[in-house]
């Protein structure tokens, strides 16, 4: 068994596609019409055959209150790896991305948390050498 797809609930797939590609730099892998929504997955250009991120619609009524409660307490929905959290923080802040947690040294890792504009907080993390 292998992990091939992991998902994040997004308020609006088109808006999420723009944010996750234009701002974060991921590339679209699959974009398949599925009724009113799309099977829309992304990969990292650093790892085109790696795990896919599914931008899944927040359509189920249980999802919005769940997301909102996580965001209130600053809890990220998922976490992505970067080489340098401080550099990525500066790059994304320059593009207008809002951080709820600036880079903090957490022992073995440095982490920061930003708003993906689609209803989630996302953590970025770098392991220290």
């Amino acid at each position: 068994m292998k992990i091939t797809v992991t998902s994040v609930f997004v308020d609006d797939q088109a808006k999420a596609e723009r944010f996750y590609t234009d701002i974060l730099g991921f590339t679209v892998k699959d974009d398949i019409p599925m009724g009113e929504h799309r099977w829309l997955t992304l990969v990292s250009p650093e790892e085109p055959a790696g795990v896919e991120l599914l931008l899944e619609p927040s359509a189920h009524p249980a999802v919005p209150p769940f997301k909102e409660a996580l965001v209130t307490d600053g809890i990220p929905f998922t976490s992505f790896a970067v080489d340098d959290v401080q550099a990525e923080f500066e790059r994304l802040t320059g593009l207008g991305v809002v951080f709820t947690q600036e880079p903090v040294d957490m022992g073995p890792v440095v982490t920061a948390v930003f708003d993906d504009t689609c209803g989630n907080l996302i953590q970025i993390a770098a392991r220290k050498a």
Partner: protein
């Protein structure tokens, strides 16, 4: 005043204040992460939230909602009552 002493009596709450002193406007998630990763304090998120409630009742922590996020910051002004009551001796040269 009694609330302030009660709030300061707990070592976890003192560490929370130390961490908030380092940076204002932390989410509950950030505070929990700092306590766990930097101090080895593995209290539950709910327990930390209750500690924050005690600190807020004592006026030592101020919470603020900004849009969809809730932030916590340190307010040391309740501590002034302590030095007003028991003034610090001047430091010896």
């Amino acid at each position: 005043m009694a609330d302030v002493f009660k709030a300061l009596a707990d070592p976890t709450r003192r560490v929370i204040l130390d961490e908030l002193r380092e940076r204002d406007d932390q989410t509950l998630f950030e505070i929990c992460g700092r306590l766990s990763m930097k101090h080895g304090l593995n209290s539950s998120r709910q327990a930390i939230s209750q500690h924050l409630d005690v600190l807020e009742a004592a006026g030592l922590v101020i919470t603020r909602r900004e849009g969809r996020y809730k932030y916590h910051r340190l307010d040391t002004s309740p501590l002034r009552a302590i030095v007003d009551r028991w003034p610090l001796a001047p430091e010896e040269e």
